[in-house]
């Protein structure tokens, strides 16, 4: 029986199989360049997921997630280039740095909601953007920090290095998949249900006994973690960190990706990010004003699919399964004597 749940599972398995096959499949049907585009899409999808956790699940629209992405990046870059750390400690430093700054700014930001919240998140990211640009000895300012390939590292006897393109791809895939799995678990847990309740009606949520402030802060730190992991991966991927990734237009892009893909759905950010990065890669080589297409697509989706592409897909699937159910009920009735 093809229920929506079965269809979703089949699609997930097919999608997973495709991602695993990418390093061999894509060079054959396209070229090697697209393997690294797909790796980049995965990283940015994780970043968009951090916007989604806040906006789609607890109802806070952050225009400042680039700040935590930037801290993840700089944690790695400063760790490797300045402190001489090896791979895992540098990775850990990036994640801890982004969690810490998310906690500190979240303590202030989640006191506010709606546009006040959006504004304060922008303000925080601007403050740190200008700070990063100005403390040149630490951050490299506008030029950023380039660092040599991270030292080789080993996981359980297997040694690997980001200089091996396949290794790099699978490391990114595994890390992003793990983060999405964690998010999936959180969404279905009592904690995740409490998030959604707060998104739906925060006054009622408080009246049933939920500590709205504390739960918003938890979600904010979790989102900071997701953005931080994405930033740390991106630093290893590009072998550099730069303040320009902390600028708020980076945050804004992730908001568009998450909303167009479908806020409040686990895979919405993946769909939105993929769509826009593919558009960018294809169109920008031919036409410098590719932002027009991005804008047009975003506007069309918001008008015709207010719940995003994944939301639209889910709704169609539900309608289809309802119709086939009705049909099977009718056939049953007809066969009755």
């Amino acid at each position: 029986m093809m229920t929506p749940a079965v269809i979703a599972r089949v699609m997930l398995i097919a999608f997973g199989a495709f991602l695993v096959a990418v390093p061999w499949l894509i060079p054959v049907i396209l070229n090697k360049f697209w393997v690294s585009v797909i790796a980049e899409i995965m990283i940015w999808s994780l970043f968009a997921a951090s916007v989604n956790l806040l906006f789609g699940y607890i109802g806070l629209l952050s225009f400042g997630q680039a700040l935590y992405f930037g801290f993840g990046m700089y944690g790695v870059a400063i760790g490797v280039a300045t402190l001489g750390l090896s791979f895992w400690p540098a990775f850990g430093l990036g994640i801890v740095a982004s969690i810490a700054i998310a906690l500190v700014s979240g303590i202030f930001a989640v006191r506010l909601t709606w546009h006040y919240f959006a504004i304060i998140t922008v303000v925080f990211s601007l403050i740190f953007y200008f700070f990063a640009v100005s403390v040149k000895p630490l951050t490299g300012g506008d030029d950023g920090i380039n660092f040599a390939l991270p030292p080789t590292f080993s996981i359980g006897g297997v040694t690997g290095s980001f200089s091996d393109a396949n290794f790099q791809y699978f490391f990114i895939l595994a890390t992003v998949a793990l983060c999405f799995f964690l998010m999936h678990r959180v969404i279905r847990s009592p904690l995740g249900k409490a998030f959604v309740a707060i998104r739906d009606n925060d006054v009622r949520a408080a009246l049933i006994g939920l500590n709205v402030y504390q739960l918003r802060l938890i979600a904010f730190v979790m989102a900071g973690f997701l953005a931080g992991v994405a930033g740390a991966l991106f630093a290893f991927f590009g072998r550099y960190a730069s303040a320009s990734y902390m600028f708020y237009h980076v945050s804004g892009e992730a908001v568009v990706w998450a909303i167009v893909g479908g806020a409040g759905t686990l895979f919405g950010p993946v769909v939105g990010t993929t769509l826009f990065i593919v558009i960018r890669e294809i169109v920008s080589t031919h036409w410098e004003h590719h932002a027009f297409i991005v804008g047009a697509v975003a506007i069309l989706v918001v008008i015709f699919a207010p719940k995003g592409l994944v939301g639209l897909w889910n709704a169609e699937l539900a309608r289809w399964s309802e119709r086939t159910n009705d049909a099977s009920v009718k056939t049953k009735l007809r066969t009755e004597p």
Binding site: R188, P190, R204, I208
Partner: protein
């Protein structure tokens, strides 16, 4: 007389120049069903907002079972066991009816598990099913609450209050917007609840008030106009005067008296 379940001392709330609750000192003894009535704008809902922590009082204190709860946050008040329904019905519109009950039941737990699947909690699931039966919404369990009729939302709100096992229940016009059949169901439910839970109900429907209340407090302009049992209230001249501006309520009082 048993210890007061809810007591206020000189409670005052102003909105600009308007004093919505004016030096209100109330003493509601436990194990009785209290009704608060009064004309529009008397300050009844504001009183509930002060007790439940949605608004901060300008002065005065609130005691719940002898404990000073003045200035506590809404979730802190809720966790002491004081639950309320809203005059303007308030549920989680995008969650299903069952999920509304589920999340309400879980909200009072100290720790919300971040990774275990919510659906694996069988104890809560049984409670939800039981409550759905009690309020007669089993057939609508999977519908998003935002798509329910007004009366069904009101029933759901009562269900949410019930499933959280309150010690004190504040109901703000629970039957408003219900059909006669729904009102009957809700009134029966409230009467049954009142056997085990302390209840304060704000209600405009006088037939409901005189049917279920043990004690009635009449509010007007933020203060207490009169209080007593239903017989005393229906015979009170000042109460009848306060309602003179509202003929429809006058009729209810008449009906209730002659019933």
């Amino acid at each position: 007389m048993t210890e007061a379940v809810l007591r206020t001392e000189n409670l005052t709330k102003r909105f600009g120049g308007l004093t919505a609750v004016d030096n209100l000192s109330l003493n509601l003894p436990g194990r009785r069903l209290h009704a608060i009535i009064g004309p529009n704008g008397a300050g009844k809902t504001t009183f509930f907002n002060l007790v439940s922590g949605l608004l901060a009082a300008d002065s005065g204190r609130v005691f719940f079972q002898g404990r000073d709860i003045t200035g506590l946050k809404p979730h802190e008040v809720s966790r002491l066991g004081i639950k309320r329904t809203m005059q303007i019905k308030s549920v989680f519109p995008q969650l299903s009816v069952a999920e509304n009950l589920w999340v309400t039941r879980h909200a009072t737990k100290r720790v919300l598990h971040p990774f275990r699947a919510a659906s694996s909690d069988l104890e809560t699931r049984e409670r939800v099913e039981h409550t759905l039966e009690q309020i007669g919404l089993t057939a609508l369990a999977q519908r998003p609450a935002g798509t329910l009729s007004y009366g069904d939302v009101a029933l759901l709100e009562i269900g949410m209050a019930v499933i959280s096992e309150p010690r004190l229940l504040l109901l703000d016009e629970p039957t408003c917007g219900m059909s006669p059949a729904e009102t009957e169901r809700a009134v029966a439910k409230i009467k049954q609840l009142a056997r085990t839970i302390d209840i304060v109900i704000i209600e405009h429907d006088m037939s409901v008030v005189f049917e279920i209340a043990d004690d009635i407090t009449v509010m007007a302009q933020g203060g207490i106009l009169a209080s007593g049992n239903p017989d005393e209230i229906s015979g009170d001249e000042r109460v009848r005067e306060a309602y003179l501006g509202r003929p429809e309520d006058e009729d209810y009082v008449e009906e209730a008296i002659h019933a």
